[in-house]
Point group: C2
Chain length 284, copies 2
């Protein structure tokens, strides 16, 4: 459903700037897990909404996630050649077009948030609230802030507090926002939004701890990227600081914390529960 919506909603390559749209579509269709759009849709349903009505917002999250991967892979950042088993955007299209494709995807995300279909489903002030949550989570007080710290602390000794900052900001913020935006757009009460935010916060951190673990113990074939890149880049990670066993325990306890936040919800929260279990068990 998300893949179809992305294909429908993204622009078509045409005219003198068609190359950048090709690059946007190349990276979007490289086959991510679509975790963030699915979280938004599942949270929307959990709050009593209809996930089929919030697809522009779901796709907007994937646009922001994909832009962040394109820019993170650049030579000046992590300098990665492979992503999901395919050449990274700058390897396929050159650095200039890759930078622009990232910029275009980030901007397009907010074009999607102002999409008329979303405005027909949710009240304009509800959509604006979701825009505010989205921009805060994606920007300097969220994902970009986390990526900055991650880059600046490469190869430097790092304490648990800084590592927590990087984790909660770099990956955690956008995953939490996916759940929160879905809750808001689905019409959740204030208390429901708080519970679902708690779920998203724990899940986001679990996601990153597992990501770090997979870089140490994962299967290169399944991941579609070389393992050990964090060690190569001297990145601060949970397993590096606390060891593999403690990292596994941490991931499990975060999953339990996420599930506890869903206690007051009924069967409508089953997809969110399944996602929490999947995130910790996944091998790619």
């Amino acid at each position: 459903m998300v893949d179809n919506a992305l294909d429908q909603l993204l622009p078509q390559p045409e005219g003198p700037s068609g190359k950048v749209v090709e690059a946007m579509r190349y990276s979007i269709s490289a086959g991510g897990k679509r975790v963030r759009p699915i979280l938004l849709m599942a949270a929307c349903d959990t709050a009593g909404g209809d996930h089929s009505q919030v697809l522009p917002a779901a796709c907007a999250l994937e646009c922001v996630h994909t832009y962040s991967l394109i820019h993170d892979d650049l030579p000046a950042m992590d300098d990665d050649d492979l992503r999901r088993g395919k050449p990274t955007c700058h390897k396929a299209f050159g650095e200039a077009v890759a930078i622009l494709a990232g910029d275009a995807l980030l901007t397009y995300a907010f074009e999607l948030m102002a999409h008329q279909d979303l405005g027909k489903y949710a009240a304009p002030q509800t959509v604006l609230r979701a825009v505010a949550v989205f921009a805060q989570a994606a920007g300097v007080s969220g994902m970009v802030g986390g990526q900055t710290a991650d880059i600046l602390f490469e190869g430097k000794p790092i304490d648990a507090e800084t590592l927590a900052f990087i984790h909660t900001h770099k990956t955690g913020a956008l995953i939490r926002a996916s759940v929160e935006m879905g809750a808001i757009l689905g019409g959740a009460t204030h208390e429901q939004v708080q519970k679902l935010k708690g779920y998203g916060t724990a899940l986001g951190l679990a996601f990153q701890v597992v990501d770090d673990l997979l870089d140490v113990v994962g299967d290169q074939e399944k991941l579609g990227k070389p393992v050990g890149s964090d060690i190569k880049n001297e990145k601060a990670t949970y397993p590096a600081l606390f060891g593999i066993e403690e990292a596994r325990r941490k991931a499990t306890s975060l999953k339990d914390e996420a599930l506890a936040c869903l206690e007051k919800f009924g069967p409508e929260a089953e997809p969110l529960r399944a996602i929490a279990t999947y995130v910790v068990k996944r091998d790619r």
Copy 2:
């Protein structure tokens, strides 16, 4: 007024990611002309609104303009060392932080569009309409599309049609959007928005033609950047394609076209009229 608002509204550098906020503030405070924020505020007044109530949107435009300069200056793009007489962002902070500062400014622009002060002044659906205009003009169907074509056609023979595409998209779209967003937020009627869009479209093109001219005949001291960089980078420009005299005539006729769009407005449009004259006469 815009400078004060930018200083107030931008985040403060703190914590492990403070460096990227420093870089954002460094580039924002490098002293641009603030043409886009001023256009938004003047258009708001022209439509019967109050420019002091739309400062978050005005600052959002300057954030997007500044991010575009930071990314355009990168080694993979135009590779410029100086901007407004100061080292470019990547020269001062390194490439990784410069890319992230651009990303952060672009994202922050949409955080500002969702600012509560703006939501208190204009109806939520009006703000969302402005967000849609903004994102379209900044993204692949506007500024990013123009920058892509500009980069891809460097050093290649170019026809008048492609040059017009680059001009109307790279600079024109955001300038037009500044006026259109101001009109929308100021409560303009449909007909008023159309007239002001016409003004913004002509002005945006005039602005770029004059920019190209200044790169040939301008004063390096006043511009704060080396002249002749378009020729060095084999950029397509209006003077290169049509000659200096024809470019000057074009700029003047576009100014007249812009002024004609304001005919039905009274003295409240005087600032917009003055800006049109300034844009064509400016020497920096």
